[in-house]
Amino acid sequence: MATPPLFIMLSSVDRDKLQLASMIASVAAVSERPVHVFVSMGAIKVFAKTASGNDRYGDSAFNAELCEKNAPDPIDMFGQGKMLGDMKVWACSMVLDVLGWDESDLVDDLFDGQMGLTKFLSDAEEGQLLSM
């Protein structure tokens, strides 16, 4: 039986949450489990093309340790999972609308397009949904 797809909804700028989300997404994607990531609310700002380095993340309980030990960057992890596995990344169309952004404002080569929440939730009915 095929493994049900994994749907991950991101809404936080918290480095801890994004680090774990990127680990879950990339490992699932390379383990023959389709992954769909939906980036909404403040989390979209982390993926802004103009943001850079660790400054793109909000502070969090484990952020200092992650930086000190040079842990892999979550955005790089998402990219790695996408390159090596079955992963799609969608930008929430509502938050792009609020910000007046389009896909060109987001980091290159990561997003598969915009998606509305209704469509994402409908798709997620066939798998498991995580919200972080």
């Binding site: 680990m23 490992v27 842990a71 090596l84």
Partner: protein
Amino acid sequence: MSERKLIDARGSFCPGPLMELIASLKLMEIGQEVEILSTDQGTAKDVPEWCAKVGHETVESGEKDGHWYVVVRKAK
């Protein structure tokens, strides 16, 4: 028989070693083996688990000289 490949992923945090292994496997021929070295203890269980799930073969795994190693044979 082709030479066994070596990936030194010591110092790389989870899931870095697994990702390095997968990237390497994509470039290998079926039947070829690769040994990965890691200082992440989770690798010793994660890699065999991943191999069992996706259909590659764990040849051997263990600990030596303060790090963990896993030998994987590409099976598909």
